[in-house]
């Protein structure tokens, strides 16, 4: 066995502070590969950046700015914020500034554009920055002051996390996607079950899982308190990176004998379609047990589930059918490319003919921004990531979380439903 075996998280952090080994719990100052901000976190970061008193950013090509939360601008105040962000991007010649029209939801867009690659250390002023762990990267959310400091110096302090390993075994039941696996996992360990820790997703079921489903799983590591949600690089990752990675990438893997706080074995053959009931993502239950819950709105979209696979699943279920009368169904492809591809494949036609709304990419309703805010007492079933009090609108409204199959099946019935056996 290797001397000083390390987890993948340790190895990536060590490589970014010029060392061979870092210990769990140690505080290090590391160089980051990509620094990300959006229209919510960037305005505060600009304020802090100006206080530092530097007249340049550390590297104009390593900063990515995406106005995606309240865009296309939902009101005058958000327009002012976007204007400030746009002006900053222009002043510092930020290459990767994505204006409305090119813009997509950041955590779908960065991987799609090949801006984040395996082996990277990435920070973003958005909690779901952990999404890129699916590419074998160490990637985590920070706040605006950290973003400001990273933009100025290219470095940030990190506490080297301990890790929890999740081994997903056996075959998935029909219609199960990454969302069901991660909701089930969060339900098992709780919303602080991985607090400060790196979650590693491994096992035969992960090996067979699509890239889109892997992004969904890493995306929600934060909902268990996780710092990273890492999946090691395999053929599926390399196929995804091929032709899109804008930089050479590096493959890291955990050493045999690396230290884990916990190791969980999860039998996927026992996992049913999941729904997390209000008001915590950890309140996961089999969807089939919730068939008497009526809903006012369905949302299919977000950095969690607005990718091609999600739209494909939804289109298969909705094709040729009609949305239940009185229900609002909002579908939000996460990027312009996904939108175009969904158009080519005829999915958008299926959705619109069924009575769904199809929106331009935006985070929109996920965080109660716009494009589908809930009134008092209303209930949404959503493929998004959080069901906290007031998340999608009025403080007395409710959000139930699910994957695309349950969302689409429920769109047809107006109640929490699972797709029929014959539907696939």
């Amino acid at each position: 066995m290797q001397k000083n075996p390390q987890t993948i998280a340790q190895k990536i952090l060590a490589a970014h502070c010029g060392r061979d080994h870092v210990g769990q719990g140690e505080i290090i100052n590391a160089e980051v590969d990509i620094v990300l901000g959006n229209d919510i976190t960037m305005p505060l970061a600009i304020k802090e950046f100006k206080k530092i008193g530097v007249d340049r950013v550390f590297d104009k090509d390593k900063i990515v700015i995406i106005p995606d939360h309240f865009t296309p601008n939902k009101d005058i105040q958000s327009a002012q914020q976007c204007k400030a962000v746009r002006e900053f991007a222009s002043e510092f010649k930020i290459k990767n500034y994505f204006e409305v029209g090119r813009m997509g939801i950041e955590h779908a867009l960065l991987p799609e554009q090949g801006l984040v690659v395996a082996g990277d250390l990435i920070i973003g002023a958005d909690s779901h920055t952990c999404t890129y762990g699916a590419l074998g990267a160490a990637s985590t959310g920070v706040g605006s002051t950290d973003l400001a400091v990273a933009m100025a110096t290219g470095k940030l302090w990190f506490r080297v996390p301990s890790s929890i390993k999740f081994e997903f075994k056996n075959n998935l039941k029909p219609w199960i996607t990454g969302k069901d696996l991660i909701l089930y996992t969060i339900g098992m360990i709780g919303v602080d079950g991985a607090l400060y820790k790196s979650m590693e997703f491994t096992g035969a079921a992960i090996d067979r899982l699509s890239m889109d489903s892997r992004f969904t799983m890493s995306n929600m590591a934060i909902e268990a308190g996780g710092k990273f949600g890492i999946i090691e690089v395999d053929e599926i990752t390399e196929t995804y990176l091929k032709g899109r990675a804008q930089r050479p990438y590096k493959v890291y893997s955990s050493d045999p004998g690396a230290e884990y706080d916990q190791v969980f074995e999860i039998d996927c053959s026992q996992i049913d379609l999941q729904v997390s009931v209000p008001h915590l993502p950890s309140n996961a239950k089999p969807a089939a047990q919730l068939s008497d819950i009526t809903i006012d709105q369905v949302v299919i979209g977000s950095c969690t589930n607005g990718r091609m696979e999600d739209l494909e699943v939804a289109a298969k279920i909705i094709e040729g059918k009609k949305v239940k009368e009185g229900l609002r169904v909002i579908i939000i492809p996460a990027t312009q490319n996904i939108y175009l591809e969904a158009m080519k494949r005829g999915y958008l036609k299926i959705f619109v003919e069924a009575g769904c709304v199809v929106s331009t990419p935006t985070c929109g309703p996920c965080l109660g921004g716009h494009m589908g805010i809930l009134a008092q007492g209303e209930r949404a079933l959503s493929t998004t990531n959080r069901n906290f009090v007031g998340r999608m609108g009025h403080p007395s409204s409710e959000v139930y979380l699910c994957g695309p199959a349950v969302a689409a099946a429920s769109a047809l019935t107006g109640k929490i439903s699972i797709p029929g056996e014959g539907a696939r």
């Binding site: 530092i52 950290d146 007031g390 998340r391």
Partner: protein, 164 residues
């Protein structure tokens, strides 16, 4: 630094959406954010500030979004200290970075009740509960983080490092 004040108590998993709902994230003004602090959690928070300025909560305080608006709203409300069983990691970083004092102590968080009068000596590593006659020990933060706090936040810390 000694902070003497009364406790306002909340439960587990106080998330950033209830600390400052996203509908108010179209502003970065401290006073504007303070106006809506804890709006969806506790309608009476502002009334309570008249008698207490230490927030005490359970596990995973500040979970959810990375919005730094959350600790800013709390600090700008006049809250002087947050004590919790545990903090979500991004909230913890953000609070340290902007100079909102935090104490992680499961014992204190569980034992302290709403309205208890507290005397926190962060340098000395103790919190006295004057109402209940108890003393809670605080584990010191890592040296690096203490350095950031002593500088008055991460921006000031970095300015010193860069010689600005």
């Amino acid at each position: 630094m000694i902070i003497k004040d009364k406790a306002i108590k909340y439960g587990n998993n106080v998330d950033t959406d209830v600390i400052i709902p996203a509908r108010h994230l179209t502003s970065t003004e401290e006073s504007e954010l303070a106006m809506h602090c804890f709006e969806d959690l506790d309608k009476d928070f502002k009334k309570k500030l008249a008698w207490g300025k230490i927030v005490v909560a359970g596990a995973n305080f500040g979970c959810g979004s990375s919005r730094e608006h959350a600790p800013i709203a709390i600090k700008a409300s006049g809250v002087r200290l947050v004590i919790a069983s545990s903090f979500a990691r991004i909230f913890f970083r953000n609070a340290i970075n902007i100079g909102l004092p935090l104490v992680q102590s499961e014992e204190a968080a569980q034992n302290i009740m709403q309205g208890d009068e507290l005397e926190a000596d962060l340098g000395g590593g103790t919190i006295k509960n004057l109402t209940r006659g108890k003393v809670y020990r605080i584990n010191p933060l890592p040296d690096f983080i203490q350095g950031v706090i002593k500088s008055g936040g991460y921006i000031e810390f970095i300015k010193k490092e860069l010689g600005k």
